[in-house]
Symmetry: C2
Subunit: 167 residues, 2 copies
């Protein structure tokens, strides 16, 4: 069963056919790569420009019938736990290795979502990820479309994904 | 004559056929939209993850034979001058309007470069731009390829473009 089918969403502005593949891929990738089991919360439309985490990866998407951007934003304790699990050693600060890891995780999540979206007829080309770190950075997707945020809970604190797709 | 042909570059890692269109488009867009005349400096390979400016727009690119990302990073005095010129009123701080403006400028520069690259046989799809603001944010393009930085001088201080393209 898809992870996304268990998520409750009443907001008619949110197209779960587009968002669901990113929720599924996020859970699957973190389970497989880091042995953690994140729990997706209800998606909502983003209302401010504030990023939620301390380190954010962004990847652009462009295709014949869809374009947009996908971001994953981790709080520091959460990404340190994920990276420690992935690398098999205790990671205690946001080093360059953590940035590379966040970029790689984002690449793989997007690749997973891309495969699932292709089955729905949306063909996406992926750009290369960019990673932003620094306390209190703001991230704004420049689009008239609603940006959808999905929070995830983990034992080491929350993280968030943001999806902005124009179809 | 192309703006980029006037720029000196001895570094064999830098493919001016790919970088030149972004230099040309940057100068043309800022001349046309904001009435300022930026002077491109020598391109170089980025060696740190530090962003150079106070506000940065990033746009992903994905196509059949090329993918990557393009970033424009403005120092605060420089973008305030540009936005004041564009909007016809004095802009004194990095508001949401400035973020939207930086995203729009980046969109238009990328569109210009895209047209020029198409003549070279590189067909690029553009994602939507993302704007990051906040003092001391780091921007890292997650790629094994060199990221090329081109600084520009203006009367109101410098700004920088970064191009990372995999062909």
């Amino acid at each position: 069963m898809s992870e996304a089918t268990a998520v409750k969403c009443d907001d008619s502005r949110i197209n779960m056919k587009l968002i669901g593949p990113f929720i599924d891929a996020t859970v699957n990738v973190l389970k497989t790569m880091a042995g953690i089991n994140p729990t997706p919360q209800s998606p909502h439309v983003k209302t401010t420009h504030e990023a939620y985490g301390d380190i954010t990866a962004i990847i652009g998407m462009a295709g014949d019938n869809v374009k947009g951007s996908f971001a994953v934003s981790f709080t520091e304790p959460c990404i340190l736990k994920i990276m420690s699990n992935m690398l098999g050693e205790k990671i205690e600060s946001l080093t360059g290795d953590v940035s590379d890891g966040v970029g790689e995780i984002t690449n793989i999540i997007t690749g997973g979502a891309k495969a699932q979206l292709a089955e729905e007829g949306y063909v996406i080309g992926m750009a290369i990820p960019t990673v932003i770190s620094g306390k209190s950075h703001n991230v704004e997707h420049v689009t008239d479309q609603p940006v959808i945020v999905v929070p995830f809970e983990t034992e080491s604190g929350p993280f968030f994904i943001e999806v902005s797709l124009i179809v």
